[in-house]
């Protein structure tokens, strides 16, 4: 339960971090996409359901403040969270390679889908430019940030797992 509350609080927290702090710390004129990042991480750790619910609310928050309509970011990030959740069975927490590869693919998917739905539709065809100037720098920065954030998530997750395990053991003893 505490874990769920923590997850719920972390969504606005990371939104604040992204819009309030990272917008001032641009790298290559881009900011990292923390919303995709946490949807992915919660997906890996807790499975499809958490991935898709977290993704939905992350995207909705972006839509409310910055979208022209509600639901577009919510849909894209929710799908990303869900798909990443599918890998939760496969991955070992200590192996950082799989999450990083998935995160790269996820952010690329987000960028492409957002480009297609809002830019390509208005006849902005030069995908090469948007790829090199927006999508790739964003992926790079997101990965960079995730290298810092991922171990923190891992530590918190391990802590909760241990607590749970201890409780179960105590039950068995009784």
């Amino acid at each position: 339960m505490i874990q769920r509350i923590l997850i719920a609080i972390s969504i606005p927290f990371f939104f604040l971090l992204q819009t309030g702090v990272f917008t001032y710390l641009k790298l290559g004129n881009c900011i990292p996409n923390l919303m995709v990042l946490i949807a992915c991480i919660y997906g890996f750790f807790y499975g499809e359901k958490f991935g898709c619910v977290v993704g939905f609310f992350c995207g909705l928050l972006m839509d409310i403040f910055f979208g022209n309509m509600l639901g577009l970011n919510a849909l894209i990030i929710m799908l990303i969270g869900y798909i990443n959740g599918g890998f939760s069975e496969l991955f070992y927490a200590e192996d950082i390679r799989l999450p990083m590869i998935l995160l790269t693919l996820s952010d690329a998917t987000y960028g492409l889908m957002y480009y297609i739905s809002t830019f390509l539709m208005r006849g902005r065809l030069s995908i090469g430019f948007y790829m090199t100037k927006v999508i790739l720098p964003e992926i790079f920065y997101t990965i960079l940030v995730s290298l810092v954030i991922y171990p923190i998530f891992l530590a918190i997750d391990t802590l909760f797992r241990n607590l749970k395990l201890r409780k179960e053991l105590e039950k068995q003893d009784v």
């Binding site: 606005p12 939104f15 604040l16 971090l17 992204q18 819009t19 309030g20 702090v21 990272f22 917008t23 001032y24 710390l25 004129n29 881009c30 900011i31 996409n33 919303m35 499975g47 499809e48 359901k49 898709c52 619910v53 939905f56 928050l61 972006m62 409310i64 403040f65 910055f66 022209n68 309509m69 509600l70 639901g71 577009l72 919510a74 849909l75 929710m78 799908l79 869900y82 959740g85 957002y114 480009y115 809002t118 830019f119 208005r122 902005r124 030069s126 430019f129 948007y130 100037k133 927006v134 720098p137 964003e138």
Partner: protein, 289 residues
């Protein structure tokens, strides 16, 4: 048996596939409903306004502080010192001017910058602070710390440092979103001051880095418009008040049709360092009926 049906003694759980399906439907319905209308704006905007905005004010201060530290690391020290000194000076001047009268601000800053019509000085303005910026890399918009409670409304024009910044496109009780004129897909009807020729100014993500805007549909057979000409908002625009400074002509070239010209404009406002903006509370009068 359907997996949704609850069997005896088991806790009810919804399979993730169904959850995804439900949420997808919600998203699609939301998109359809909010594409053309703003039915959810009032409850949703006031809800996030009470939850997110108060925290954001503090956090963006931290962000600004961090950016200043980053600047220190990346730029040459002497330049930084000068930069800092000048910025402090600008900040204190801005602050001072905001506390004093708005008229004083207009006179010192804008009158020097522009030789504009009388109406320009008589606009009512409210100062507002930028509290956070766009969460993505695709568009350029930001949130200010005033909303409907302070008498603001959608479509009000926003200026800073004497130049046009954009207009309010979304509003909550204590926040408002300003979409910049440099944002991709935003069009402003403009006018060259020296020759009164009209043109269409549009934001382009490709040019944002260089502080430029696109312009097109300039009909100038005599070649009156040259580099450095001042461009302001025109009086035929239905969202923007007339006479607000947009920027200066940078390049001009003939279109393939040989009738109109297009090119780039360098913007008057420094969009990277916006912290205080002025919202013009007068709305452009127009009748659709």
């Amino acid at each position: 048996m359907s997996p949704v049906v609850k069997s005896k003694g088991e806790r009810f759980t919804l399979p993730s596939k169904y959850l995804l399906l439900i949420l997808t439907f919600i998203c699609i319905i939301l998109m359809v409903l909010t594409y053309g209308t703003s039915i959810f704006d009032v409850p949703v905007n006031s809800a996030v306004g009470t939850v997110i905005v108060p925290f954001e004010k503090g956090i963006s201060r931290a962000g600004e502080w961090l950016r200043n530290r980053k600047d220190e690391l990346t730029s040459v020290r002497s330049l930084l010192e000068e930069n800092q000194r000048l910025r402090d000076q600008i900040d204190s001047l801005t602050e001072e001017n905001l506390i004093l009268t708005q008229e004083r601000y207009e006179l010192t800053d804008m009158q020097a910058l522009l030789g504009l019509s009388e109406t320009y000085y008589s606009y009512n303005k409210v100062g507002a602070r930028v509290i956070f910026k766009d969460a993505g890399n695709w568009y350029s918009s930001f949130i200010i710390d005033k909303g409907t409670d302070d008498g603001l409304a959608v479509d009000m024009n926003v200026i800073a440092g004497g130049g046009l910044v954009g207009r309010i496109t979304k509003i909550g009780p204590n926040w408002a979103r300003v979409t910049s004129i440099i944002s991709d897909g935003v069009n402003v009807s403009g006018q060259v001051v020296s020759s009164d020729l009209t043109l269409m100014v549009s934001g382009d993500l490709k040019l944002v880095d260089r502080g430029l805007l696109n312009f097109s549909l300039l009909s100038d057979p005599e070649g009156l418009v040259v580099k450095g000409d001042k461009v302001v908002t025109s009086n035929i625009s239905d969202k923007y008040l007339p006479g607000l400074l947009i920027g200066y002509i940078d390049t001009v070239q003939n279109d393939a049709n040989n009738l109109t010209k297009s090119g780039t404009i360098s913007v008057a406002t420094d969009f990277d360092h916006l912290s205080v903006v002025l919202v013009i509370t007068d709305l452009k009068d127009y009748d659709y009926e």
